[in-house]
């Protein structure tokens, strides 16, 4: 019976298992934590709510919405710039909200208007909250 290297083999086996487990935990943790802060859920919520507001607005309206929660989530998810969070495409009539890096949630609006001067204003809302403001114009296309 050859017992040479027995301890070394056991140690090596365990090291391999531990390394694999470490890689597994390291790769799964960011995904789970990313989902736990609700980036995609909130992106879906904001896209739908803003589309609803646009659908019921008229040319000449100026609208400001409290988006403090969205800006906090985006910051936690390493979105580089607040200008990346909300994007409104007047040609496609859609709003896209990006609160997680690498993906955005888009929702269409049926109101045939153009959304102009859209942007986040930091600290301009009630109690210093961040707000997203935009104006509604007649459709130019």
């Amino acid at each position: 019976m050859n017992k040479r290297g027995g301890i070394g083999d056991i140690l090596l086996d365990n090291v391999i298992y531990l390394v694999l487990l470490g890689i597994f935990i390291a790769s799964i943790t960011p995904f789970v934590l990313g989902q736990m802060n609700g980036g995609d859920v909130w992106a879906d919520y904001y896209a739908k709510e803003i589309a609803k507001v646009i659908d019921f607005s008229k040319p000449g309206d100026k609208i400001c919405l409290d988006v403090h929660k969205a800006s906090e989530i985006a910051k936690n998810n390493n979105i580089r710039s607040f200008s990346e969070i909300f994007k409104i495409d007047n040609v496609k009539n859609e709003i896209c909200v990006k609160l997680s890096s690498g993906r955005a949630t888009c929702f269409d609006f049926f109101n045939d208007v153009d959304v102009i001067n859209a942007g986040i204003e930091l600290g301009f809302g009630k109690d210093g909250k961040n707000i997203f403001c935009f104006e509604i114009n007649e459709a130019s296309k």
Partner: protein
């Protein structure tokens, strides 16, 4: 050199890897299902469309139905295949009455109880009001959902 059991040891590493992959797929799948369903905005979309149509008719009159989308500032392309709308004037059964203005089809499915949780079906909103002594029924429906894009 003792080679006994060498293959067996490698197999156990692969088994462990397979186990990790299975656990990973389970966690990712579970988290995905739990967090990704979003909330159902079909009813809100339908009621908004109905309210917009009512407001437009009250403001511009029933004659607006001749050129409904332009006069009411609605984007027909964005509504195609997603929204349905039917406007009946003095009709006894607006759902089956196809004599008035309508856009889209399958209005019968609007009020199927089984369709409520199915995102393939429209959720519908019924708006009823009177204008100039005429009763107007508006059935507006939507099956609009959000979509995820890379970027």
């Amino acid at each position: 050199m003792n080679r006994k059991g060498a293959i067996g040891e490698h197999i156990s590493v692969f088994a462990f890897l397979l186990l990790l992959i299975l656990v990973g797929v389970g966690i990712v799948g579970g988290v995905y299902i739990f967090y990704q369903s979003g909330y159902d905005a079909r009813m809100a979309d339908a009621s908004l469309l109905g309210a917009r149509a009512r407001e437009c008719i009250e403001e511009k009159g029933i004659e607006t139905l001749d050129n409904f989308f332009e006069k009411c500032r609605l984007n027909k392309e964005k509504m195609e295949g997603i929204n349905i709308i039917k406007i009946c004037v003095d009709s006894k059964d607006c759902v089956s009455d196809n004599t008035g203005f309508f856009f889209g089809s399958n209005f019968e499915s609007c009020f199927l109880a089984g369709g409520e949780g199915n995102k393939g079906y429209s959720r519908c909103y019924l708006e009823r009001f009177e204008i100039g002594g005429k009763r107007v029924d508006i059935i507006a429906g939507s099956k609009r959902v959000s979509r995820r894009v890379l970027g």
